[in-house]
């Protein structure tokens, strides 16, 4: 049975936590959550995960620790964490915006606010999840820098020594910043999507190597975990419909 687009997205998110070791995985949103839990049940068993509130829980739901917000914020500063956040806007160097669209005094759209993005990006590895890859999200310049990108980090000296943006996963592709100037690069496209489609949906010039591979296939055990254990009601398909994109 072949994987759906949402399932490729789950796999691509899970891969963000490969080799992360014994750290807190902080996925924001449904597909990143499924990815983090899949990673822990398979290739990253030492990951810590919360119940979305103040408890650290084992895969069967058994509490194994207490992590109220006050301790969570300190854990971020300590660096033993890999977060996957959302992004309303993202630019070629990984500057991220979740605060507002438009002017500071009178925004066209007031969004959430910076939340913990400045703290996250200077202290622990950060990845991003974008459920609709489009030119509205992937822009030349973000309206407010919440998460710090590589061009901003470059001038910060010692303050940026823990800065790392690991990957960006969208409904079309996986991207990273492994180029000489840390501009965004296409790593893989999900089966059913094309390099051209990704280029078309990105509002800046993307680094595209020759022979971009497809995102890897999920194994049979991984598919079973996604479908039977982690998301039996199929909520993932509401976030990323089959054959999504563009």
């Amino acid at each position: 049975m072949s994987a759906t687009r949402a399932e490729y997205c789950v796999i691509a998110c899970a891969e963000a936590w490969r080799d992360a070791g014994e750290v807190l995985a902080s996925p924001m949103g449904l597909i990143p959550s499924l990815g983090a839990r899949l990673a822990r049940l398979t290739f990253a068993p030492d990951l810590l995960l919360t119940d979305g509130e103040a408890l650290l829980v084992r895969p069967d739901g058994t509490p194994e620790g207490w992590l109220p917000y006050r301790q969570h914020l300190e854990l971020v500063a300590g660096g033993r964490r890999h977060v996957m956040m959302g992004a309303s806007q993202l630019d070629r160097y990984g500057n991220q915006n979740i605060s507002r669209i438009g002017d500071r005094e009178r925004p066209r759209r007031q969004l959430l606010g910076v939340r913990g993005a400045p703290l996250n990006t200077l202290n622990n590895p950060v990845s991003y999840w974008v459920p609709r890859h489009s030119r509205r999200v992937f822009v030349e310049r973000v309206d407010m820098v919440c998460g710090v990108g590589y061009d901003r980090a470059a001038g910060l000296g010692a303050a940026a020594r823990f800065h790392r943006i690991a990957r960006v996963v969208t409904d079309l592709a996986v991207l990273d910043f492994a180029t000489p100037d840390h501009s965004m690069r296409l790593v893989s496209v999900h089966p059913g999507a094309s390099v051209e489609q990704v280029r078309e949906a990105t509002g800046f010039e993307l680094a595209v190597p020759d022979g971009v591979p497809y995102t890897r296939e999920p194994g049979a055990a991984e598919l079973r975990l996604i479908r039977e254990v982690l998301d039996p009601v199929g909520a993932r398909t509401r976030e990323v419909p089959q054959g999504a994109g563009g």
Partner: protein
């Protein structure tokens, strides 16, 4: 020892326009909503509000009581974007000092410790550095030479928080999994007002719960208000969860209609109006 019990209206009578007011809880979680409702019944405005924002901020913004908001976010949690806050921002007139969640905690801590600032790594390189004129950096005097944000103390004229239990002296207890930052809000303020689900005898506080649940010390508390269901419609687990249906109604109803129906009279009238509303939607 002083009995600090008072009514919500007595709390509000000690507040004034132009104050810097800290509001506890987090998003749509354990917000001191009964105290916010009392504030809305008063004429107090021109406030600088310091909060991890939820419907407390939404309601005060909708009523035009906030001059400047200091926050890291405003959300209803199950409704990601607070509609009344958004409207206030998009129509202009609500000034915003936007800081990171961790900077916020450090700002409260600095105030609680009577320090002018605390160094934090969060904020450097991001646009929060331009969110207000007051953010400066500080350079480590040690060999690393790291440049950090000097997060200024978030000193408050008054703090409003809601907990599960308190005694008449101002010792406050939380019974859920999450203390949020309510102790820091109280310690950072010149006067702290605590509403609670139930006032109990001091001995009752530790009968069923451990002493680590005693979040608020009376030396940092000015007044205690018994306000059953006083966090409604935000969550106050384990006493009650968020009233999702009512919150959705709040989020989708024009503000004048909501305010006229629920916020005209006292807290008892609010509770009665909520019950009427529930009967209506269940019919």
């Amino acid at each position: 020892m002083a009995d600090k019990t008072m009514t919500a209206d007595e709390v509000v009578s000690r507040l004034a326009s132009g104050m810097t007011l800290g509001i506890g809880g987090w998003g749509s979680r354990r917000k001191p909503m009964a105290l916010v409702r009392a504030l809305l019944r008063s004429g107090i405005g021109d406030l600088t509000v310091v909060a991890y924002g939820g419907p407390d901020v939404g309601m005060l913004a909708a009523a035009g009581r906030i001059r400047r908001l200091v926050t890291a976010f405003v959300t209803l949690d199950s409704v990601p974007l607070e509609p009344h806050y958004r409207a206030a921002r998009e129509h202009g007139g609500l000034a915003l000092t936007e800081i990171d969640e961790g900077m916020f905690q450090s700002g409260l801590r600095a105030a609680a410790q009577r320090l002018p600032f605390l160094p934090v790594r969060a904020g450097i390189g991001s646009d929060v550095m331009r969110a207000g004129p007051e953010l400066r950096t500080v350079t480590s005097p040690y060999a690393d030479g790291e440049t950090l944000v000097a997060m200024p103390a978030l000193r408050l004229d008054a703090a409003l928080v809601h907990v599960h239990r308190a005694d008449r002296l101002g010792n406050g207890q939380y019974l859920g999994p999450e203390p949020y930052f309510d102790d820091l809000f109280c310690e950072a303020a010149d006067a702290a007002y605590v509403s609670c689900e139930r006032i109990v005898d001091t001995a009752e506080l530790t009968r069923a719960a451990g002493p680590q649940s005693l979040l608020l010390k009376r030396l940092a508390v000015t007044g205690v208000v018994e306000a059953p269901n006083g966090a409604h419609f935000t969550s106050c687990a384990p006493d009650y969860g968020r009233d999702e249906e009512f919150q959705r109604w709040y989020a989708t109803t024009p503000w004048p209609e909501f305010a006229a129906r629920f916020l005209g009279a006292d807290e008892a009238a609010y509770r009665a109006a909520v019950e009427d509303w529930r009967t209506e939607v269940e019919r």
